[in-house]
């Protein structure tokens, strides 16, 4: 009897599940409105800056492989979609950027993947001039061994004057014979760092195949919308 009384007393003090649900929901609702509002405000405020920095980031990369002075169009707007291709090493469609000076095609900037790096895929961005020569190559992503295979990144390359990756500049699929697209150890023309030959081999192979792809598809690439 006492316990029953205590129970009903405590019931009076404590809300039912339904009222509690409503109350909690309401409070959470208010807080969410306030803080999501705050957040959305911040987002709208920074949005232009965000977009700018995203574009800037892309441009910065492109500028590394293709000098800004070489073209005058807005690359980021003049794109073409490349389907997945074994020559590019890609397994999904990628975007290529077309640099033009006036109406003339200047260069094509696109992504390629070296699939057989020492520790997985090496992602590259390559700029190929309209004449088929390479304007520049940069590594965008890789998992090669730090301190050994990572010299393909200019930042990690001990040779600051002429980083390894710049060796490709000027080569083209047409002018460089197959045999030369190898590291010196294998009888080719490219340098390497002893003890880490797998990485350069992979990059060289990927670049060669990519230039081949461009050479084969050049006209469509510049033409298509």
């Amino acid at each position: 009897m006492t316990t029953g009384a205590a129970k009903s007393a405590s019931k009076k003090r404590e809300p039912t599940a339904a009222t509690m649900a409503v109350r909690t929901a309401a409070i959470l609702f208010v807080f969410v409105i306030i803080f999501t509002g705050l957040l959305s405000g911040a987002y709208l405020w920074t949005k232009p800056a965000l977009e700018a920095s995203a574009a800037e980031e892309k441009m910065k990369l492109i500028n590394e492989v293709l000098p800004r002075s070489a073209y005058d169009n807005n690359l980021l707007k003049d794109t073409v979609t490349l389907p997945a291709s074994p020559l590019l090493g890609t397994d999904e469609a990628t975007t290529a950027y077309r640099a033009r000076k006036g109406a003339d095609p200047v260069a094509l900037v696109f992504e390629a993947v070296a699939t057989d790096g020492y520790a997985g895929k090496i992602r590259l961005i390559i700029a190929v001039n309209a004449d088929g020569t390479i304007a520049g190559v940069r590594v965008t992503q890789h998992k090669e061994t730090p301190g050994l295979g990572d010299y393909i990144e200019p930042k990690k390359d001990k040779n600051k004057e002429r980083p390894w990756i710049t060796q490709f500049n000027g080569h083209s699929y047409a002018s460089t014979v197959d045999k030369d697209w190898r590291v010196k150890k294998d009888g080719g023309r490219f340098d390497f760092i002893a003890g880490a030959t797998v990485t350069p081999r992979a990059v060289i192979k990927a670049v060669r195949k990519a230039t081949k792809y461009v050479a084969e598809n050049q006209t469509q690439l510049y033409a298509s919308q």
Binding site: F35, A42, T46, A49, L50, S53, P146, G147
Partner: protein, 229 residues
């Protein structure tokens, strides 16, 4: 408001006595993951300090309106909103650093320190105290991250302040050891982070033990102690 004594105790707690990284062993993920160099560590700490100070203020001011049952979701909501704001700011203004720090900026939300302080301090104290608590806890975290980051990059590559160019574009890192220093890469990799933090904790234990050994003595020279203060 806040008196000198309280302020000092809050500062001492945050920076040394209740140091999040060395004593509470909280907030380890950023502590270990982003300290591949000093700059990363410092910048992430700054972001954390901002979040902590703001969320402590917010919770301390709103604490009376938050029912107990849903306090955790509300705290998290507040922290997450603030973190996202900081995230957006980093993204807009320090984009490259933003890329380096990666998911560790959003992860400030789950940084146990933030929530722990909110729960343990802000929810029970007035806003001003809470703000200082947030700031000093953050400073405690900042110096450990800075030291750990510095140690790691120094041992790992002989440099200091690498990555400074991402924050102040003009500056360049210091190369402290000769360029042919081979670099103990391990220090920069995860194992090095754990082991060096272990050593830092042992160092802190050692300092405390030494201080404890000396403590019983003070009565002998109270004047000198006063003089130094």
């Amino acid at each position: 408001m806040i008196n000198r004594e309280e302020f000092r105790s809050i500062a001492h707690n945050g920076i040394w006595k209740q140091n999040t990284s060395l004593i509470q062993i909280l907030g380890l993920c950023p502590l270990l993951a982003v300290t591949t160099n000093m700059v990363n560590g410092v910048m992430l700490s700054l972001a954390t300090i901002i979040v902590m100070a703001l969320s402590n203020v917010a919770v301390a001011s709103l604490r009376n309106f938050i029912p107990h049952e849903i306090r955790i979701p509300v705290f998290i909501l507040i922290v997450a909103a603030l973190v996202t704001v900081v995230d957006l700011l980093f993204n807009a203004n320090l984009h490259e650093l933003y890329l380096v720090l990666g998911i560790f900026i959003p992860l400030i939300v789950t940084n146990c320190i933030v929530l722990a302080r909110v729960e343990a301090f802000a929810a029970k104290n007035p806003p001003l105290h809470a703000t200082f608590d947030g700031i000093f806890m953050g400073i405690g975290m900042l110096w450990t991250l800075a030291v750990l980051g510095g140690l790691r990059e120094f041992i790992g590559g002989g440099t200091l302040f690498s990555g400074i160019d991402l924050v102040f574009p003009g500056l360049s890192p210091l190369q402290l050891l000769p360029a042919d220093y081979p670099g103990l890469l391990l220090a920069i990799l995860p194992p090095g982070a754990f082991i060096l933090l272990g050593c830092m904790i042992a160092w802190k234990n050692w300092v405390e033990a030494r201080a404890a050994q000396r403590q019983p003595r003070p009565p002998i020279e109270p004047l000198a102690a006063d003089g130094t203060n």
